[in-house]
């Protein structure tokens, strides 16, 4: 039987020859590892992609062992987690690896996203890499949220109660949809059981598939680098980028250094401070779920708190402020902007629609809209960013100032979300919410003004 091979990858030996005729092993190895060229000036920020994959593997592996002892039943769940902690040999280690792992996964993913923003990795031609990454972020939030219900602690219960109630504000179908998701009129055994199914089967499958797509899209366009320039513009006589090195072994070895450093931090927390003072494991979750008693300070885990703060900040006074901002933008557009009359009219009608929504809508509904919008904003980044250069090294000052303001607002929102609301804190959260959205709304403007530095033609690199 004739076997047709359509590639010219040389098999290492007779055995691989046999395999390669039936499965593209050498081809895939070469194209995605041994001959996949990445810039030689990768730095600290480039650790987090491979670390995110490491955390996905750790979470799946520890998760499998936890399901061997965990009971997804409202009567038994809390006790089964305690059983894992006290009676199962090394159960405490597997569980702490998983609970700390969830937080560390988010640490890694947030840093990975920040890397994308500062080096312009979301810009053309990597828009789809970024978009798939954003979907991964959303899927990861769903995965974390559902996993958090499983220990059936009191914070698990009330956290799920709050987040599921968000769907109530959807017009017409909201309450029926919430009931369908819960499978009951309140959070109950039915909810716990299905969240378990989603957490251990559906979302892990989706996450693995999305990570695969993320890498396929990345390898189609090639990795960015800290200078944000295209390494394929300087090729050697073999057609390979002069500033590129093969992913295997060079980048893999570099990433292993990152893994070693990361494991010191991760395992340090696992062994010595697994609750991180109530940040990684909340104190109220050491008590079983009680439908009659909301914890005194109900807060989600830290990785949700910036978005949670935005939700909480949406009160009547924020809506009033947004009405004024809305009017101000329209007035500025008519006086100063150079866009066409048609666009101005279209924009004014849109703004009028938003104004009607703000005037008649409730703070509750807008809170949900704003929280969702806060995440949607990330998806739009590739098109909001108009700077002629990609990397922060060559960006103009207005971008750097805006980025610092945004980071400050993001961290303050995250901090406020971990604390009980007071009038002063709510006002601060409202100010930060405005800064958060202004960062995205004004990005087309502040990325196109100011003096950028000239990009180099070769990557910045010094041999060590």
């Amino acid at each position: 039987m004739a076997i047709h091979r359509h590639d010219n990858h040389k098999s290492a030996n007779a055995f691989m020859e046999w395999v390669d005729q039936r499965f593209p092993a050498t081809k895939v190895w070469n194209e995605h590892l041994a001959e996949y060229m990445a810039a030689k000036n990768f730095n600290f920020w480039y650790f987090f992609g491979s670390l995110a994959i490491l955390m996905l593997v750790v979470q799946i592996a520890t998760g499998i062992f936890l399901t061997m002892h965990y009971k997804p039943d409202a009567e038994l769940a809390f006790a089964s987690v305690e059983y894992i902690m006290r009676d199962v040999p090394y159960g405490w280690l597997v569980r702490y690896l998983h609970s700390t792992g969830a937080s560390m996964f988010f640490v890694v993913v947030y840093l990975h996203m920040f890397r994308g923003v500062i080096y312009g990795s979301h810009r053309e031609p990597r828009e789809l890499v970024w978009l798939i990454g954003c979907v991964i972020f959303v899927a990861l939030m769903a995965e974390a949220f559902m996993g958090y219900l499983l220990p059936w602690g009191n914070m698990s219960y009330w956290g799920a109660q709050v987040i599921l109630s968000l769907f109530d504000v959807i017009p017409f179908v909201g309450p029926a949809l919430t009931e369908w998701i819960r499978g009951d009129f309140v959070i109950s055994d039915a909810t716990l059981n299905r969240f378990f199914a989603f957490h251990v089967i559906l979302l892990p499958l989706i996450l693995v598939a999305l990570v695969f797509l993320h890498l396929v899209a990345l390898h189609q366009v090639g990795s960015n680098n800290p200078d944000g320039i295209d390494i394929y513009e300087n090729l050697d006589e073999d057609g390979k980028p002069v500033d590129g090195i093969p992913f295997f072994p060079y980048i893999v070895i570099k990433d292993l250094i990152g893994v070693a450093g990361f494991l010191i931090v991760y395992l340090g927390i696992v062994f010595f401070w697994p609750d991180l003072g109530g940040i990684f494991l909340e104190k109220d979750n050491f008590a079983p779920a009680n439908p009659l008693q909301t914890p005194p300070d109900i807060v989600p885990l830290w990785y949700f708190t910036p978005f949670y703060s935005i939700l909480r900040a949406s009160t009547t006074s924020l809506l009033e402020a947004m009405l004024w901002i809305n009017a101000g933008i329209v007035a500025w557009m008519w006086i100063r902007s150079k866009i066409s009359i048609k666009a101005k009219i279209a924009f004014s009608i849109l703004a009028a629609g938003v104004a009607v929504g703000l005037y008649f809508g409730s703070g509750k509904a807008w809170g949900v809209v704003l929280m969702a919008a806060a995440i949607v904003c990330f998806f739009l980044l590739p098109w909001l960013d108009r700077s002629p250069v990609y990397s922060i090294r060559y960006r103009s000052m207005p971008f750097k100032i805006a980025l610092v303001l945004f980071l400050a607002a993001f961290f303050i929102l995250g901090y406020l979300g971990m604390n009980a609301p007071t009038p002063g804190k709510t006002l601060l959260a409202q100010i930060c919410t405005v800064i958060y959205f202004a960062f995205f709304a004004l990005m087309p403007w502040f990325t196109s003004i100011g003096q950028t530095k000239p990009e180099p033609s070769r990557v910045t690199y010094e041999a060590h």
Binding site: S165, D297, A420
Partner: protein
């Protein structure tokens, strides 16, 4: 025809009539396939709805309220939700009028309660001092904490006449479950249907009365 390699030729050589027929058959086959898949999804979607067991768990509950002291609050579970029973003192009742100006829906026009509880004290006129209310914040479903003391409170404000404070998102309610202005919640906490038989209150049933 015994010719196996001519699918291209067949397609190109097909009459317009036959091409139309093939398109129609392809379309209708795909269409019926989609209907089949859609139908197969229905039982899976419906399997996630509340089960018969969950529906049956919504029966009314009874409580002997004579054991509640004046100014005391108890919580009873009904349909998995906390129902607050609060026997308000004269001072608490007087406070309801004092803060009316700070409320978002003082007349409960946009809120959920039976007709007999849509009044200033949000309670049946037979026992106006007894507040019967689902202790569930109308913002996102947390259970607000009681702040029964009258007077300044860090969370309720300086002119507090007592009330409920939601720890989740800072919504404030008075001692009739009416929501304050400029907090995330916009409607008052719901009052469930209830009826009295002697000193026993039945929550979840009022025989359809409206007064």
């Amino acid at each position: 025809m015994a010719d196996n390699n001519v699918s291209d030729v067949n397609a190109n050589g097909m009459s317009v009539e036959d091409q139309k027929r093939r398109r129609f058959l392809t379309g209708i086959t795909a269409g019926f396939g989609a209907v089949g898949v859609g139908t197969a999804v229905v039982p899976f979607v419906l399997s996630m709805s509340p089960s018969e067991r969950a529906k049956n768990a919504g029966a009314p509950v009874q409580y002997d309220f004579s054991k509640i002291q004046e100014g005391q609050l108890v919580k009873v579970e009904w349909r998995g939700k906390p129902v607050v029973l609060l026997k308000r003192s004269g001072e608490m009742m007087a406070g309801l009028d004092a803060i009316k100006g700070s409320l978002a829906d003082p007349d409960s026009a946009a809120s959920i309660q039976p007709g007999y509880a849509q009044n200033n004290q949000r309670a049946d006129a037979a026992r106006p001092e007894l507040l019967v209310m689902e202790g569930v914040c109308t913002h996102l479903g947390c259970s607000p904490v009681e702040k029964l003391a009258i007077g300044p409170d860090p969370q309720m404000g300086a002119d507090s006449q007592g009330g409920f404070f939601c720890p989740c998102h800072g919504s404030k309610f008075d001692l009739a479950g009416r929501v304050y202005k400029d907090v995330p919640a916009t409607t008052n906490m719901p009052v469930p249907p209830y009826k009295f038989e002697g000193s026993v209150i039945t929550i979840g049933e009022d025989d359809g009365r409206n007064a």
